[in-house]
């Protein structure tokens, strides 16, 4: 579904992203982890054509994202609050996104009804503009909006950050459900290793812009990741059967 070729991004001589080849097949729940500055947001921004790669390109369903706008119709994303329109109420925002994705109000309402728990009665019918909602509630709106109109690709940058524990658990449920659906490709980035191993079928670790690990999630994945990020890469030998250095072999 998503394929990255020779992608690199260089700012003033510093390469912040360098991925030769990475393929995410349709229906995969793909997790991206890495420390601050590892290039997670840069990768997602390039995928959404918000920044121009220095070399290479990304294809989304065989559409080169920097050449055609056709990928927009099947891709939904929430990166940060610049994806929200502050002067709209949450309902108006959902309807706006819905209209853009060919959904009428009834369709959107039906979808929203399923998220009553997730919203915890703090979002809908509150007569508040998005700009006046708390950061956490804004994030909920942004995440749910990506689900409108059954997109094939959903990109979420740090969806768990800023959310309360209850909402984190509910969000995990939502993403798991999406992951179970083989039609939807979900790309999630996170600092939270536990969350990401729970919901993703595959995890890629970025460090200084390079892919340093590409793992199909298993029982041992969390331990391996914790080992990696704490600098004690000792468990590697035990689970080497799951570790693949080149993503091509997965596909």
């Amino acid at each position: 579904m998503i394929s990255i070729h020779n992608l690199s991004k260089t700012y003033k001589g510093v390469t912040v992203l360098q991925i030769d080849e990475l393929n995410v097949p349709k229906g995969q729940a793909f997790g991206l982890v890495g420390n601050n500055g590892a290039g997670k947001t840069t990768l997602f921004s390039a995928l959404l054509d918000l920044i121009q790669p220095t070399t290479g390109h990304i294809e989304n369903n065989a559409v080169k994202v920097n050449e055609s706008e056709a990928w927009k119709s099947h891709t939904a994303s929430f990166i940060d609050e610049t994806f929200l329109i502050g002067y709209l109420t949450p309902e108006e925002y959902f309807y706006f996104i819905g209209e853009l994705r060919g959904q009428n109000k009834a369709d959107v309402d039906r979808l929203l009804a399923g998220f009553a728990d997730f919203f915890n009665d703090e979002i809908l019918n509150k007569r508040k503009y998005l700009r006046d909602l708390s950061k956490g509630n804004q994030k909920k709106v942004g995440i749910v909006a990506t689900l409108i109109g059954n997109p094939d690709v959903i990109v979420l940058d740090e969806p768990f950050a800023n959310l309360d524990p209850t909402t984190q658990i509910r969000l995990k449920g939502i993403i798991k459900k999406l992951a179970a659906d083989t039609g939807v490709t979900v790309l999630v980035s996170s600092h939270d290793l536990q969350h990401v191993t729970e919901v993703c079928q595959r995890i890629v670790v970025l460090e200084k812009g390079n892919v340093v690990k590409d793992i199909m999630t298993s029982q041992a994945t969390l331990k391996e990741l914790e080992g990696y990020f704490s600098g004690e890469d000792v468990l590697k030998s035990e689970i080497s059967g799951d570790t693949v250095s080149n993503s091509d072999s997965i596909n």
Binding site: D80, T82, I85, E92, F96, L100, K128
Partner: protein, 490 residues
């Protein structure tokens, strides 16, 4: 301590993405300021002799009108003087005394151009008074009193900027007093004349404005110190949301999605609301031309000029800042299921609809003869057909984000001062006048009008072609624009 604040501001200015636009804007502002200083100085010297030659006692006459000067100054400040914005939140946790932060913010207004410029009027005027044998002691006290009064204005303005109800109170007071004066019920100037005159004649009276000033400083200091908390003065004001049904716009098809959004944008944000006010102001701007009130405006070329402005108020005040209106959520617009073409077309429709409305409302100019209204109509056609595209083209180079929640800079936004934008906007006014001139000098005024209208219609005919070109430019500039909008509005 102040050094820290100043370096922060300095870095904020020089490290902003719109630095170039800012610099050019500052240069323009500086030139304007120099011009005003010169005017004030000449007025300060000339006023004395002018009044004397016409048989008025200069000081007394000035004192009679001083209240208007002060009121005018206050109104001018309210609209133009920018309140000092220092990025306070990150400073709160640092070991800065809160008093110092308030001191700096208030102190910064004190050295504002809006205070200093009056010195260029009053000091020369005082010198002339002294040269003409006025009592030095009295003149000195009068000057001090005046300086204090202008600083009192400075602080009143700070409060006006923060408390909307106070604006209503002050405006009502002005209207009542002005009305009472105009209809001859009560002349405030008789009383204020006494006061201003006594500043000169009685040596201790200047202490009154001084006392008022000190009081203002103390109140301002307390007021802002107490509000330096995240949930008080620094909190964003939340408003109750209103929802509205704009389904009647659905007839425009897919474009309607954006039109509905843009109407909400205009209605719900301070900054964009002023575009509506500006459109109305522009609607009346033509009166200057058609009433013959200003002599140099009283010629056929200027009437085309007026026609462009009357119908194009919205085009100039809103269209100018496309796509910056959407700057706070530009990445959303760029990743949603929206093509650039749809996005631009919707903005174009909005501008065209508003221009059409202005053109229809401009029918009032029929009062000044059919030719006056013809100028408005052909101006409107040209605005819709040609300028609507030009304004979108200029927008492609617009890199300054718009802060929707503040209307402070609506009257002199630096984003308008972008070399490319300026060059692109020149034809908006020059072209129609040129077309008219060609017609005017060959077959007469009617042919001139026809040429302008034809140019507008030609613009409609080439719409699809022009849109393709504009779209390509937007695409090319896209990444730069996204990066620039990421920065806070300067």
């Amino acid at each position: 301590m102040f050094k820290h604040f100043i370096t922060l501001q300095w870095k904020g200015f020089f490290r902003s993405a719109s630095l170039k636009a800012n610099l050019i804007f500052k240069i323009f502002t500086a030139l304007g300021a120099l011009y005003l200083i010169a005017m004030f100085t000449f007025a300060g010297i000339g006023l004395y002799y002018g009044l004397q030659d016409n048989g008025y006692e200069p000081l007394q006459t000035l004192n009679r009108f001083m209240i208007y000067y002060l009121v005018g100054d206050l109104i001018f400040r309210y609209f133009f003087q920018k309140m000092p914005i220092i990025n306070i939140k990150p400073l709160l946790l640092l070991p800065f005394d809160k008093k110092k932060i308030v001191n700096y913010a208030l102190g910064k207004t004190a050295v504002s151009y809006f205070n200093l410029v009056h010195a260029f009027f009053f000091i020369p005027f005082t010198v002339v008074l002294l040269m003409n044998g006025y009592d030095p002691m009295g003149v000195g006290c009068w000057l001090l009193g005046m300086i204090f009064l202008f600083y009192v204005n400075n602080f009143i303005n700070i409060f006006l900027n923060d408390i909307l109800s106070l604006v209503v109170v002050v405006a009502t007071l002005f209207i009542i007093l002005g009305g009472a004066h105009y209809y001859g019920y009560f002349n405030i100037t008789d009383y204020t004349l006494e006061f201003f005159q006594s500043l000169y004649s009685t040596n201790w009276v200047f202490l009154l404005p001084l006392a008022a000033l000190i009081l203002m400083i103390v109140i301002a200091h307390r007021y802002f110190s107490a509000r330096l908390y995240m949930d008080a003065g620094l909190a964003a004001k939340a408003t109750t949301a209103s929802t509205e049904n704009l389904d009647w716009l659905n007839r425009f098809g897919r474009i309607s999605i954006f039109l509905k959004n843009d109407i909400k944008l205009i209605k719900r944000n301070k900054r964009s609301k002023t575009t509506i006010i500006m459109s109305v102001v522009f609607l009346f701007y033509g009166l200057l031309f058609f009433t013959g009130g200003v002599e140099s405006y009283d010629n056929p070329f200027m009437k085309i000029f007026a026609g462009i402005f009357i119908s194009g108020g919205f085009l100039f005040s809103f269209g100018q800042f496309v796509p910056s209106w959407d700057s706070s959520y530009y990445p959303l617009m760029m990743t949603q299921n929206i093509s650039y073409k749809e996005y631009l077309t919707s903005k174009w429709y909005l501008v065209v609809i508003a221009t059409a409305i202005s053109t229809i409302l401009g029918a009032g100019y029929l009062y000044f003869g059919w030719e006056a209204y013809a100028a408005v109509v052909v101006g409107g056609i040209f605005n819709m057909g040609v300028n609507g595209h030009v304004v979108l083209l200029g927008g492609a180079f617009n890199k300054t984000p718009v802060d929707l929640t503040s209307n402070k800079k609506a009257f002199g936004d630096s984003s308008a001062f972008n070399i490319k934008s300026i060059l692109i906007s020149v034809p908006k006014l020059v072209l129609p006048i040129a077309f008219y001139a060609i017609g005017h000098f060959t077959l007469g005024p009617i042919f001139g009008y026809a040429l302008v209208a034809l140019a507008g219609l030609a613009g409609f005919a080439f719409r699809n072609w022009t849109f393709k070109k504009i779209e390509a430019i937007y695409k090319k500039e896209k990444y730069k624009t996204i990066a620039a909008y990421k920065q806070e509005a300067p």
